[in-house]
């Protein structure tokens, strides 16, 4: 029987294209110190440290070993967890498991990436199957572009629809002091920006960022001592899909997210997510993906998510804001990106969102995405 677990501290760096002023491990340390400060505890009160990044981007394997002094892991329990784009949510979910199991009372998790120090697409190629797919793989944007043309045809979604998402998230990012990109852009700006791979334009695409995020998970007993505003974990689900990029029938119909969110809602006792969720932090690697992935969250009839979006439901002032932090489209240090979704959801529950705070957040949903077509879902509540 699992214990109740809450997030009681969040720390993140100010994400940028290049953090010239710190090396990888110093950057990790920054996020750790900020998290400890937020939780008002010292490192001695941490039982285990879980850390992860996507190692081929920096080409430093055993990255947990090199981080040990800086992550607080010296002499402590811990492990490295790396699952590609979903690294941050897997780390969060693993932290939850560690505490829920009763084996650890406080777990610190850290996700990070120093993207400019290697070559992003070349690094990503190393994650493809070398026997079948590596030679023709066209990068993340190539895959999403080809998926988007299929999506356009099947769902009747246009480039304008995608551009509106890009605008919404970048404008949201301007309220988030940690966001990498804080762009005052319009739909016209997006449609005029450089085509990377049709239909994906420069302004449709997430950036490559350098940054780190750290969170503290605690047992019920510890959580109540540490803070008056814990963000309780109501559900955590993971679903994976097939090994080759082309195995799933329809890319943008993210069946792993359908399955994971359905299971998460059941666990959290949610029957009408559109009404019962107050905010969503969704992992959207590209503007198009936000439309497709939202459709997988059972907010409305399948294929009809555009109606909600067009009505402004997912805007900052809408009924169910999506990505008030600016999302992945503003900040993408890959090892941290998925964790930032959970962290921002926790920030919303704890009322620490500042200019990006949505009023009265009691239930928040965070998703993580990784290749190929994997999904993680966490639901947080202000009470269990």
């Amino acid at each position: 029987m699992e214990r109740k677990v809450a997030i009681v501290g969040v720390g993140q760096t100010h994400h940028k294209a290049r953090r010239e002023d710190v090396n990888m491990m110093e950057m990790v340390h920054e996020a750790v110190l900020r998290c400890l400060e937020d939780a008002e505890i010292t490192i001695d009160q941490v039982d285990a440290v879980l850390i992860g990044n996507m190692e081929h981007f920096e080409g430093v394997n055993l990255s947990d070993m090199w981080a040990v002094d800086f992550s607080g892991a010296l002499g402590r329990f811990g492990m490295k967890i790396t699952t590609g784009g979903s690294t941050g949510t897997t780390l969060s979910i693993a932290s939850y498991y560690h505490v829920a199991s009763g084996l650890f009372d406080t777990v610190l998790c850290i996700g990070w990436q120093k993207q400019s120090e290697g070559d992003t697409t070349a690094g990503l190629v190393s994650a493809t199957d070398p026997i079948w797919e590596r030679a023709s793989f066209a990068g993340a944007f190539g895959t999403f572009a080809a998926a988007a043309t299929q999506f356009m045809k099947e769902y009747g979604v246009s480039e304008e629809h995608a551009a509106k998402i890009a605008v919404k998230n970048r404008q949201n990012g301007r309220r988030n002091p940690y966001a990498h990109l804080q762009l005052d852009i319009s739909v016209e700006d997006v449609l005029k920006s450089r085509v990377l791979a049709y239909p994906i334009r420069m302004l449709d695409m997430c950036p490559a960022s350098e940054g780190a995020c750290a969170m503290l998970f605690a047992s019920e007993e510890k959580a109540k001592k540490i803070t008056g505003r814990p963000a309780w974990v109501a559900a955590a689900e993971t679903r994976h899909d097939s090994p080759f990029i082309g195995d799933v029938p329809m890319f943008m119909d993210l069946r792993t997210l359908r399955a994971a969110s359905s299971a998460a809602y059941k666990k959290a006792g949610i029957t009408n997510p559109l009404k019962e969720l107050d905010v969503i932090e969704l992992y959207e690697p590209v503007s198009w993906a936000e439309i497709a992935f939202l459709d997988a969250l059972w907010l409305t009839e399948k294929g009809k998510i555009r109606d909600l979006i067009d009505k402004g439901v997912t805007n900052m002032d809408g009924e169910l804001p999506v990505n008030p932090s600016g999302g992945v489209l503003c900040t993408n240090p890959i090892g941290a990106t998925a964790m930032l979704r959970v962290a921002e959801a926790a920030i919303q529950i704890r009322g620490k969102g500042g200019a990006r705070q949505i009023p009265n957040v009691r239930t928040a949903l965070a998703t993580g995405y990784g290749g190929n077509w994997w999904s993680d879902v966490m639901i947080l509540k202000d009470r269990l």
């Binding site: 010239e20 710190v22 110093e26 340390h29 800086f70 120090e117 070559d119 070398p130």
Partner: protein
């Protein structure tokens, strides 16, 4: 009966350039190495250990370190090995010696090459001195090797 197909090997490679920000501590260390021919360590204000290579945080105390210590360019061999096989990544041609060297003033040892030495006469505890490179690769090989004194 299943026809036997020859096992196919797919030759592949990853050719990727990396360029790491050293951070302020390492940047200062390499500046001192290149411009002043000095080797710097860093001391923890809590436990007093002097670390070489220097780093921003003392792992044991989990505290920032700011006190720089100029180390002697001499120290002792803590441990060593002789490499007898060839590998493209090796900095010099085999056979050659790697050693863990603790410079006078430091509490930690670091790995470097031993040169100008009879490989058969290397001993633990042997005193060695840094020989700086006339090229400046901008990494730990700004010190070319350590030779016996």
């Amino acid at each position: 009966m299943e026809k036997q197909f020859q096992d196919i090997i797919v030759e592949s490679k990853l050719d990727i350039p990396y360029s790491y920000y050293a951070g302020p501590i390492a940047s200062r260390f390499y500046d001192a190495l290149e411009k002043e021919r000095k080797i710097l360590g860093i001391r923890c204000g809590s436990c007093n250990r002097v670390y070489m290579p220097p780093r921003a945080t003392c792992g044991s105390c989990f505290k920032e370190m700011t006190e720089w210590v100029e180390l002697k360019d001499e120290g002792e061999v803590v441990n060593f090995t002789i490499v007898h096989y060839e590998e493209p990544i090796h900095p010099v041609k085999a056979p050659f010696a790697y050693a863990l060297i603790r410079l006078d003033g430091a509490d930690t040892a670091f790995i470097h090459l031993l040169g100008e030495v009879d490989l058969g006469r290397i001993r633990i505890g042997m005193r060695v001195k840094a020989v700086f490179s006339d090229k400046n690769p901008g990494n730990i090989l700004d010190i070319d090797h350590f030779r016996p004194v």
